[in-house]
Symmetry: C2
Subunit: 324 residues, 2 copies
C-alpha cells in the first residue's frame, strides 16, 4: 500500500507538538505533546525523548512507521539546507550553537524515517499552500504575527530559502528609520512595531505620552498585552482602535514594498495578532493599496490562515514531509 | 551540427541593438542597430523592420537561422509570461497598450525561430548569471542604476517573475517615507534618489539650499547630470563626494532590507551610475553592513557587472534564449 501519511513536529520554546497528518490536512489523533524545556542544554536527551514521542504519536494514530512518508519539523532558526537548528534564543539546547537536528532525529528514530526541517514561518507557508488559504497559489507571502513577526516567501510554488537557508526575515525589514529598538539589536524593524509585543509597546508609549482616556489605563502598563488591546477595541475604545489602525497601516506599507519584490498573488496572515483581523484588515489593505506601485493597486489580496489554529504549526511542519 | 548560438535584442527608446552570441558570451560581429523611434505608434512596422535586422545580423555573423537556438529580447515592461510589451512610456508603439511582441516577432521572422522576452533588468540578471559577474551564483539581486533603477532577482538559479511577470521592481521600494516625488506617481522611491536622475536632483537640492562652495556651481543647474557629479568627485570636490556618499548610503540601507527577503550571495550592480564605483562602493557596503540583520553582516558581496558595457544589454537578452 502506498504511504499516505506524514508526521508534523512543531518545536516551541516550552512544548513540542507532534501529529500524524493525511493528505487533506487532517490530524489522525490529538497532538502528542512533550516539554521542550526540561532537557537544559542536552540536545541529545531532548531529541531522544522526541523520537520516542513521534513513535508514540504514530502508534496512537493507528499507524506504523511503514505508513509514513517522512517527518517535517518546524523549529525556530531551523535551516532547510543543513537540517540544523542554530542559535535559537528560546531553545536552551540550541541557544549557543548549532545542533544537527535532522540527522540526530533520524538516528534516534532508527527506523529509516527521514526528517526535513525549516523555520516555523516557512513551515506555516508550506502548510497554507498544501492544506490552507494559499492552496493553488504559486506566489504568496506568509506573515506570522506572533510574539515576533516571521515570514515565509513562496515563489513559483517553492519556499525562498536563499543562499544560506535563512531568507524571509521580513520581520526585520526596516519600517521606521531610526525607530525603536528591536530584539535583534537594530532599530525600526517591523517586528518592533507589528508583533503582539510591538503593539503593546505602542500602547504603553501612547498611554505615557498622552492624556487620552482609554480603558487601557485601567490595566497595569507593564502587563498590558495585545489581547487587552483587542478586548478594549471590541468595546469600542478609541485608543485601542487607533492602535490597530496604526499597526495595520505600518503592515500595509511594508506589504506594498514586499509586493515590488516578488509580485505575490496574496499576503497570507497567521498568528496571535492576526486574530484581530476585524481591526487590522481595513487599515492594512488601505495602506497597502495607497503605497503600492500602480500596476498592483487593488490586485493583491490579504487573506488569513484557514488552518485550525491549535494544529496549524503541526500541519505546516507536516506539509514539508510530502516532498521527502 | 548542434545549435550553438543565440540572438540577443536590446530594445531601447531610441535604438534597438541586435547581436549573435556564442556560449561564452562573445558577440560574433558588431551589433546591428536600428532606430526604435521612427515607427510612431505602428508596432507592426517596427517589428517587421526588427525581423529584417535580426536576419541581417545572423547573416553578418556568418550564420544561418538554422544555427540559432532562439531569440532573447530585453525590453522595457517586457513580460516573460505573456511575451507582451505593455504601457512602456519610452516606446511610442507600446506606450498606450499591450503589444504581443514575442508572437508578432516570431510571425515576422517566419522561419520557425522562437522568441522569449523579459524586461531589461531581468535580462541583465540572466546575462550576469550566464556570462558575467554572477556566473556560478544561484541567489543574487541585480540592480541597474541608470536613468531609473531596475532590478532582477534570482532565487535558486531562476529569475523571480512573480504572479503576473512583473516582480523585481526594487526601484520603487520606499526609501524615504513621504520623500520626493517619483516618476511612478508615488513618493520616496529608491529610484527618485539613487538613479542617475536622482543623484542630480539631490545635487540641485543641495546647491539651492546651501552656500557650500562646489565645482558644481559652475554648471547650469538645469543641465547638471550624474556625469558632472562624477567628474567633480574625481577632482576632489567635497559636495560631489558627499553626494555619492549619501546616494551610496541609501542604496546600502535598501540592500540590507533586500537581503532579509531573499538572502542572496551578492548584489550585482550595472548601469551608468554604477560606473562611479570608486565613490559608491564604500558607503554602500558600510550602510548595508550597518543595517543588515546580524546573521548576514559582512557576508553578502557587492559586485559590479563584468560584461563589456556597450554589449551588456544584448548579451543579457541573448542569455534568455539558451532556455528555448
Amino acid at each position: 500500500m502506498a504511504k499516505e501519511y506524514v508526521v508534523g513536529v512543531d518545536v516551541g520554546g516550552q512544548t513540542t507538538k507532534i501529529g500524524v497528518v493525511n493528505a487533506k490536512g487532517d490530524m489522525l489523533a490529538d497532538a502528542t505533546i512533550i516539554r521542550s524545556d526540561t532537557y537544559g542544554a542536552d540536545a541529545g536527551a531532548y531529541i531522544k525523548a522526541l523520537a520516542a514521542a513521534i513513535k508514540e504519536s504514530i502508534a496512537v494514530s493507528g499507524k506504523t512507521p511503514e505508513d509514513i512518508i517522512g517527518i517535517g519539523v518546524g523549529a525556530p532558526n531551523g535551516n532547510y539546507y543543513t537540517g540544523e537548528v542554530a542559535f535559537a534564543p528560546n531553545l536552551e539546547w540550541a541557544a549557543n550553537g548549532s545542533v544537527p537536528f535532522a540527522k540526530m532525529l533520524e538516528e534516534a528514530l532508527g527506523c529509516g524515517l527521514r526528517v526535513t526541517l525549516t523555520n516555523d514561518a516557512n513551515a506555516a507557508a508550506v502548510g497554507e499552500m498544501t492544506y490552507g488559504a494559499a492552496k493553488g497559489m504559486k506566489d504568496f507571502i506568509m506573515i506570522t504575527l506572533g510574539t515576533g513577526v516571521g515570514s515565509g516567501i513562496v515563489v513559483d510554488g517553492k519556499v525562498v530559502y536563499g543562499h544560506d537557508g535563512f531568507a524571509g526575515e521580513l520581520g526585520h525589514v526596516n519600517v521606521v528609520r531610526g525607530g525603536r529598538a528591536c530584539g535583534c539589536g537594530r532599530k525600526g524593524c517591523l517586528e518592533a512595531y507589528c508583533s503582539a509585543v510591538g503593539i503593546a509597546r505602542t500602547a504603553r508609549e501612547w498611554l505615557e505620552c498622552t492624556d487620552e482616556p482609554s480603558l487601557l489605563r485601567l490595566l497595569d502598563p507593564e502587563k498590558l498585552a495585545s489581547k487587552d488591546i483587542y478586548d478594549a477595541a471590541k468595546r469600542g475604545d478609541r485608543m485601542a482602535l487607533r492602535l490597530f489602525d496604526y499597526t495595520g497601516t505600518l503592515l500595509g506599507r511594508s506589504f506594498a514594498d514586499y509586493i515590488a519584490f516578488s509580485a505575490p498573488q496574496a499576503i497570507v496572515l497567521f498568528g496571535g495578532l492576526a486574530r484581530a483581523r476585524e481591526f487590522l484588515y481595513e487599515p492594512m489593505l488601505k495602506a497597502m493599496n495607497e503605497n503600492v506601485l500602480n500596476i498592483w493597486k487593488d490586485k493583491v489580496k490579504i487573506v488569513f490562515s484557514s488552518l485550525p489554529e491549535s494544529d496549524a504549526a503541526i500541519l505546516g511542519a507536516s506539509a514539508l514531509a510530502w516532498e521527502l
